[in-house]
Amino acid sequence: MLLLLGQAAVTGLLTGAVYALVAVGLTLIFGVMRVVNFAHGALLMLGMYAAYWFHVLLGVNPYLSLPVTFILLFALGAVIQRGLLQPILAAPQHNQLLLTLGVMLIIENLALFLWSPDFRTLRIGWLEGAIPLGALLLNKPRLIAFAGALVLTAALYLFLTFTELGRAIRATAQDRTGASLVGVNVTRINTLTFGLGAACAGVAGALITPYLYTAPQVGHVFLLYGFVVVVLGGLGSFTGALAGGLLIGIGESLGAALLPGSLKELVVYLIFILVLLFRPTGLFGVPHRG
C-alpha cells in the first residue's frame, strides 16, 4: 500500500511539473494583462499536434522539434494578442475572457475539422519502459516531460528576473501606467507576454505527446487544471503557479490511487472552490494589485 502511494506521489510529481508549466503561462498572461486565457488549453493541444505531425510526417524526434513548436506557438500567441486582444483591452474584463473563449472554439474545431476526433498516440521504441529508483519506477517520457517543464520554467524565471525585457514585463504587471511613464512600450510587452504564455502551453503539450493521447479536445482538462493551479498559487504569482502545479499533480495522483472513478477530479475542484472562497489571493498570499 505504502509502495503504491509512493509510486502515485512520484508519478503525480512528474505530471505536476507539466501542470506548473501550463499554469506559469496562464498566470503570466493574467499578471500582465488581467486576461483569463480560455484558449490556453487549445494552444497546448496545438503543441501536441505539432510534436505529433513532426514525428509522423517528417520523422523528427518530438523533443528535437520543441524549439520549432516554441517559435510557432509564440508567433500564434503574438498574433492573437496583437490582432484581437489588444484592441479590446480597455473593455470590461469579461469581454476579454469571451474573446479567448471564441479563439478556443475556433482552434479546437479547426483541429477537429482538419485532423478528425481520433485519438492519436506516438509509439517511440526507445521511450518504452521505466527507470527504477529504489522500489519505485519512473516512466521515461514522464521523466523527460518533468525535466523539460522544470527547465523551461526555470529559464523563464531567470529571464523575468535578470534581463531588461523581463524587468519591463514585471514592471508592466505591477503598474501599467507607471511602466509606460518610464518608457516601457506596454503594447509590445503585452504581445511578448502572450507569445511567451502561448509558447509555454505549446511546449507543455509537446512534452506530454509521447505518453498521452492527442485529440482536439484534450486541452479542456489542462485548461481547467491550469485555472485551479493558478488560483491555488495566486493569480499572477509565478512561484505560486510552480508550487500549485506540483501540489495539484501529487493530489490528483493520490486521489486517483485512493478514490474510485473520476472522483479525483472532484477533489481537485473542491480544493479549488475552497481556495477561491477563503483565500482568493492564493495559498502563497500575493496581495491583490489593481
Partner: protein, 331 residues
C-alpha cells in the same frame, strides 16, 4: 436614492402607433407559425425560443446585475435532473418536479452567490468559481449511480397534460413561446423596478452603489436567485422536449456557453438582446448543421468566429449598435 439621470431610450421617441401595429403583426406571425411551418422549421423555431429563454434567464444576473456567471449549467442541470429523476424513478409529475428543480436551483444560486459576494469575488474570480461549481455537479452526477451515472436518465413516454408530454410539437412551441414572453415581461418590469435599478447600479460600480445606500449583497443575491429559478425551468423544458438527459447535457460547460452567447451577440442587459442573439445564432447553427454537417466542427468554428467578431466590433451587441445608430440619426 434621489433622481437618477434618465437613461437614453432612443427607441421610445419613435411614433407609438406603427410600433403597436408592428407588435400585433409580429404576435400574429409568432402565434400562427405552427399552422404553416414544416416540422423541421417548427423544430428550429422551438430551439430558437428555447435559446432565447435560456439566454434571458442568464441576462437577469449576468446582464442587468453584471455578475458574469460562467456556470449557469449548475441551475439548468438541477432543473433538468430534478424533473427527470422524480418522474422516471418516482412517477412524480413534472409539474411538481419543475418546482422542486427551480427551488433547488434558487437555493444553489443564492448559496454560490452568498459565498462569492461575501468574500468579495469579482470579475474573473466569480466566473471561475461558478464554472467550478458546475464542473463539481457534472463529476458528482457522473459518478453517482443512483442518479443515473454517466448513462443519464431516460424519460418514459406517457403523453398527457399531467406528464407534460405531447405528441404535437406545436404544444412545445406554444409553451416555450409563453415562457419566453413571460421572462421578457419580467425583464421589462424589472428594468423599471427598484430592484432592477439597484442591479444596474451594482453592475456599473459596486462601491459607488454601496455608498449610495444600495444593499449590494442582497441585490446580487436576489438577481442570482431569480436567474437560477428561471434557468432551472429551461432545464425542465429540455427534459420534456428531448425525453433524455445526461451529466454532460445538463451540467456541461456547453450549457453555460449557450446561456451567455446570445446575450453577447444581441447585447447584455437589454430585453431584446438575448432574443435577437438567439434569433441569429440558433437558425444559423441549424442551417450550418444541415448543410455543413459533413464537415465536423465547422458550425462551432463559425460560432467562435461570430463571438470574436461581435466582441471586437460590437462591444455592446446588436441592440447597442442599433441604438447608437438610431441616436446618431436623430440628434
Amino acid at each position: 436614492m434621489g433622481e437618477a439621470p434618465a437613461p437614453v431610450r432612443a427607441l421610445s421617441a419613435a411614433p407609438k402607433i406603427p410600433l403597436a401595429l408592428g407588435g400585433l403583426v409580429l404576435a400574429a406571425l409568432v402565434l400562427g407559425a405552427p399552422l404553416v411551418a414544416t416540422p423541421y422549421l417548427l423544430r428550429i423555431l422551438i430551439m430558437t425560443f428555447y435559446g432565447a429563454y435560456l439566454a434571458q434567464s442568464w441576462n437577469l444576473v449576468g446582464g442587468y446585475a453584471g455578475q458574469f456567471s460562467f456556470g449557469h449549467a449548475t441551475f439548468f442541470g438541477l432543473g433538468a435532473y430534478a424533473t427527470a429523476l422524480l418522474f422516471a424513478k418516482g412517477g412524480i409529475t413534472p409539474w411538481l418536479g419543475m418546482l422542486v428543480g427551480a427551488i433547488l436551483a434558487t437555493g444553489a444560486g443564492v448559496f454560490i452567490g452568498f459565498l462569492s459576494f461575501r468574500y468579495g469575488l469579482r470579475g474573473p474570480y466569480f466566473a471561475l468559481v461558478t464554472l467550478a461549481f458546475a464542473e463539481v455537479c457534472r463529476i458528482a452526477v457522473t459518478n453517482w449511480r443512483a442518479l443515473g451515472g454517466a448513462m443519464g436518465v431516460l424519460i418514459p413516454l406517457r403523453q398527457s397534460l399531467g406528464t407534460l408530454q405531447f405528441s404535437e410539437p406545436a404544444a412545445y412551441y406554444y409553451i416555450i413561446v409563453a415562457m419566453t414572453a413571460g421572462i421578457s415581461m419580467l425583464a421589462l418590469v424589472l428594468e423599471r423596478s427598484r430592484l432592477g435599478i439597484s442591479m444596474e447600479a451594482v453592475r456599473e460600480d459596486v462601491d459607488a452603489a454601496e455608498a449610495l445606500g444600495v444593499d449590494t449583497t442582497r441585490t446580487r443575491l436576489a438577481a442570482m436567485g431569480l436567474s437560477a429559478f428561471c434557468t432551472a425551468l429551461a432545464g425542465t423544458f429540455y427534459v420534456q422536449f428531448f425525453s433524455y438527459v445526461d451529466p454532460h447535457l445538463a451540467f456541461g460547460i456547453d450549457v453555460s456557453i449557450a446561456a451567455i452567447l446570445p446575450n453577447i451577440i444581441g447585447g447584455t442587459g437589454t430585453v431584446l438582446g438575448p432574443l435577437a442573439g438567439s434569433a441569429i445564432l440558433v437558425p444559423l447553427g441549424e442551417w450550418m448543421r444541415a448543410y455543413l454537417g459533413g464537415y465536423r466542427g465547422v458550425h462551432l468554428m463559425v460560432y467562435g468566429a461570430i463571438l470574436v467578431v461581435a466582441i471586437v466590433f460590437l462591444p455592446r451587441g446588436l441592440v447597442g449598435a442599433v441604438r447608437r445608430w438610431w441616436g446618431a440619426k436623430r440628434p
